[in-house]
Subunit: 122 residues, 2 copies
Amino acid sequence: MEIFDPPARLFKLLGHPARLAILDALRGGEHCVCHLEAVLGLRQAYLSQQLMLLREAGLVKDRREGQNIFYHVAEPKVFKVIDVALLDAPRRKPRAGRPACSCPKCQPAVPAPELAGAALST
Amino acid sequence: MEIFDPPARLFKLLGHPARLAILDALRGGEHCVCHLEAVLGLRQAYLSQQLMLLREAGLVKDRREGQNIFYHVAEPKVFKVIDVALLDAPRRKPRAGRPACSCPKCQPAVPAPELAGAALST
DNA sequence: TCTCCATATTCAGAAAACCGAATACAAAGA
DNA sequence: TCTTTGTATTCGGTTTTCTGAATATGGAGA
């Protein structure tokens, strides 16, 4: 009977729209909290709470880079699970272009790091 | 954001060991409540409550046959979801032979319905 | 109609999840 | 060292889930 405890814990964690949205947002790779905040429209503290739960369960991992902390999904398996559940769901729009996030990775002016100096000449 | 509500509801429902065990027990096909009671070792009332939740969500459907009510999984998709989640879980034993359930389908003396008369001659 | 059996429903207390407000912390720059 | 910025944690009240106990229902046979 207890064999179902681990998967049940996983599902319980997935059984929440905000956490699902977070994981889905991390599909393409890691993102900083400020990015998730902007993209998902969630308050920072709330987001951080949900990230803590996901982190404690080992579903996501974090990495600090300067002031920002980047999260990524540690178990790609969750994507498979989510995908199956989303099978016959109405498809979400791919995403608007402007992240409105100030982290280094989100600055549209800095697509390639080696061009950073050129922008200052104007 | 609300696109994640339906899958979240599904996951929330799956986020419970007893309900997972029920669904897993219904893998091979339909079973009556008394069968589940015997196989899973759960009290009838409790089992019925969980079945009600699964039924309300449309995950399982019931069918009456005489005194017994047989349940089956309505959305095979859930098996896919569960399977992915169970991927690296320790495999459960296939099942002992004796169901200890009195429903017509579980009587080991009646493997094929057309032989029902022969057993009475002893 | 009465009774039995399989199953369903209601109720209620305990436990857990949810989520906002406030606050703490840690790195980076002045 | 002070401030700012990005993120984490704690606290507390509200809502939801969990689960046992009691009870109801509905079909089948006597």
